[in-house]
């Protein structure tokens, strides 16, 4: 149900509309991209589950997720600093 791994498309296999070679950390496997609506190209990232691509990974979303978390961290640090400063007065 759940084991999905991000992999990068190396090439779309010619003549096999639905197959792409996907790379995961240097290891390659043919993956069926039949249920992906968007047109995929080499360099795109997909989520792989049992030899099928389930979704295209959105790099922007990933970046903004991490940025949010880092922002949370900074906000927390700022708040703790403010708390500390206010106690000193």
């Amino acid at each position: 149900m759940c084991l999905g791994i991000p992999g990068q498309i190396i090439e779309i296999l010619p003549g096999h509309g639905d197959l792409a070679v996907v790379d995961v950390s240097g290891v390659k496997r043919n993956v069926n991209i039949g249920i992906i609506e968007e047109t995929l190209k080499p360099g795109d990232w997909v989520l792989i589950h049992v030899g099928f691509a389930m979704a295209r990974m959105d790099e922007e979303e990933a970046r903004s997720s991490l940025a949010f978390l880092r922002g949370l961290g900074q906000a927390y640090v700022d708040e703790m600093d403010a708390l500390r400063d206010s106690q000193l007065e």
Binding site: C2, L3, I35, V50, R70, G73, Y76
Partner: protein, 375 residues
């Protein structure tokens, strides 16, 4: 690894943990259920609970498609494997699941041709390479895996592979969650929602949980930071008096799901009127079978399966563990009659079952393990 290591960053984990503590109401205890077995696995594998305050308990839900397969269906599959000229293909997860008379591994020891595959496409390949054999694929999984099985059947049909069929044991997630919500002995404050199922069904199907049952649900990714962030998001909703469905896993889950995947499923499969779930009993419209149009690929129609039901031992409390009512160690046979070597119930055998996860990864009390790992 891209999209993986960034979401395992311990620095970000620490700040999230701080935020989680800050959001909790003093004196209040929270119980969140992670529905999906893959989430249970991640929680234990990475030791995520070390980052949660004692006021937060994670309860393990029924989203383990291997755990909920009744022993009788395993026996049916073995019966098929024992027919002449049959090769049964299966994912690794199923190999050690005990039926009434042993597992696939035991059946293989007695001579059945049972082979492990990574993808249903590999099973199709085996069928093409062995035209004189009847190749049956043991199809399990929630909506995440059903499209892959469906596409494989469509491919078998397009390529004219007449010796290939599937033994369909796909189940659907919403009825399982509903069964949890309908149990009277449950007190939950929120749900960590399935991630990969949602890439197919989207986030809309969970609305009724917030609207009718008043519980927030956050669709979560599978890396440890995803889970921590989802806990944070649920707490934030509770703190702000909101109750809605949110998507934490935006990098992979589209709110509307995947239309093509759903189309593939509906072409090849349809809902059974009811299906028996181990530990949860009969649930209506909760599982899939092959449509008449693709009957030629339906192992249930090709083979006479015994369909004998096998009762769980009275001592087995898998059902209560699946519903999150009992923690693994609270089951009377946990660790004694039921261990990963000698699993009584599938919660112990499947690597993502709550009991196996707890036994393998979290057996010792949190404090003692944390103490020992301190350098």
């Amino acid at each position: 690894m891209r999209f993986v290591d960034e979401f395992r960053d311990p620095e970000l984990a620490r700040t999230l943990a701080g935020q989680i503590v800050a959001l909790g109401e003093p004196g209040r205890h929270y119980k969140f259920m992670e529905v999906c077995g893959g989430h249970t696995h991640t929680i234990y594998k990475h030791g995520i609970e070390d980052y949660l305050p004692p006021s937060i308990t994670l309860v393990h839900g029924p989203g383990c498609p291997v755990c909920v397969i009744p022993m009788g269906r395993v026996d049916d599959a073995i019966h098929i494997a024992e027919q002449p000229d049959v090769i049964l293909t299966s994912f690794g997860d199923m190999m050690r699941v005990p039926g009434g008379h042993g597992s696939f591994l035991d059946a293989a020891a007695k001579g059945a041709d049972i082979r492990m595959v990574y993808s249903p496409l590999d099973a199709l390949k085996i069928a093409k390479q062995n035209p004189s054999k009847r190749v049956v694929f043991m199809a399990i999984g929630f909506e995440t895996t059903a499209p892959s099985t469906a596409l494989t059947v469509l491919k078998a049909d397009a390529d004219g592979v007449a010796n290939f069929s599937i033994f369909c044991n796909h189940v659907t997630i919403i009825p399982a969650i509903k069964a949890i919500l309908d149990s009277p002995d449950l007190r939950l404050d929120g749900f960590i929602g399935p991630g990969h199922v949602s890439t197919v069904i989207g986030c809309e199907p969970y609305r009724f949980i917030a609207r009718d049952f008043g519980k927030p649900l956050v669709v979560s990714g599978f890396e440890p930071l995803d889970i921590l962030q989802s806990v944070y998001m649920i707490l934030k909703q509770l703190a702000e008096g909101r109750c809605e469905v949110e998507n934490q896993y935006t990098r992979a889950v589209p709110w509307a799901g995947n239309a093509r995947a759903l189309q593939a499923i509906t072409r090849v499969m349809e809902l059974r009127p009811y299906f028996e779930w181990r530990g949860l009993g009969f649930i209506s419209h909760s599982a899939l079978k092959v449509t008449d149009a693709f009957a030629a690929y339906d192992a249930e129609r090709i083979f006479e399966i015994p369909g004998v039901r096998v009762a769980d031992p009275k001592a087995c409390q898998c059902g209560e563990v699946l519903k999150g009512v009992l923690k693994p160690w609270e089951c009377k046979v946990f660790g004694t009659a039921c261990t990963p070597e000698t699993p009584i119930g599938t919660c112990m055998v499947s690597s993502e079952g709550a009991c196996a996860a707890y036994y393998n990864f979290g057996r010792f009390t949190r404090e003692r393990v944390r103490e020992a790992a301190r350098t």
